[in-house]
Symmetry: C3
């Protein structure tokens, strides 16, 4: 089984395929002036882009770990999440509060998906 790595920078790859399983990095937004909804939309769009690059899509999501810097942002984050996800193909998920690298960043999402 071969490992395929995508968009590697100095400290991490943004996506790694191992056989049928795809691991994405914890994705954070770049546009940090947005509110939690805008930041979540940007993160999910980046996840779409990376999954497509790996020959997968949000319909093949297996697991999502979501960190929010303020757990009160879970509800508005969920509104964006619910619009974005494929309702017939929902991954397992955990959403917890944590301090992130950039204090202006409100959300980070790390997913595992199938290549399918």
């Amino acid at each position: 089984m071969s490992i395929v790595r995508h968009e590697s920078g100095p400290i991490l790859s943004l996506a790694v395929e191992n056989g049928n399983t795809i691991y994405l990095a914890g994705i954070v937004p770049k546009n940090l002036k947005n509110d939690i909804k805008g930041q979540t939309q940007e993160v999910l769009a980046e996840i779409d882009r990376l999954l497509a690059k790996c020959g997968s899509s949000k319909s093949k999501l297996l697991q999502a770990t979501i960190w929010v810097t303020d757990i009160r942002n879970r509800a508005p984050m969920n509104e964006v999440w619910t619009v974005w996800t494929d309702p017939k193909n929902l991954p397992v998920r955990a959403c917890i509060e944590a301090k992130l690298a950039d204090p202006a960043c409100l959300v980070e999402i790390m997913v595992v998906a199938a290549k399918g």
Copy 2:
């Protein structure tokens, strides 16, 4: 390889099978009046139930991530964990402190298991 999803609600599935690997959602207790031991017992019973539904069991656990809202609850949580786990088939594990969605919820556990 086909993906099998179990007990999907509006935002997540409680279990997702991908080939030989089973991902469970971060499980939280429903009975939030219980102390850390009671809450941990309820979470582990729910994990038993979901693993059985996927044709697996706690003896096939691979990885566990445990969030406690107060790291001082790690010791009593571990007491329940040690009684519950199969001592010959222990998963890898990380236990960290994090604020969870419901302030009355003291523990959340997310596991990965093999279908075996």
Copy 3:
């Protein structure tokens, strides 16, 4: 597919192999008098040791989750990380702040790797 477990203690295994995938426990340093750089070096050396035991290496890393107790320690942790990692084979990664079991422990790292 068979599960192989390594170095199991009373609550967890330090490594679990399931087919081609290797899960390591959240590794913490033992020498807690070291600063963040020394603690990170010790954790990464232990990850090297465990991956070798599973017939793998840091060049086969797929995913890393890094918890630091003070997010300001992310930069010096990254300095050690960057020296250690194989620049052509970087895993995906998330680094978040969390309180850990021992208050003197500054960093915990949990990885998934391929057996390859």
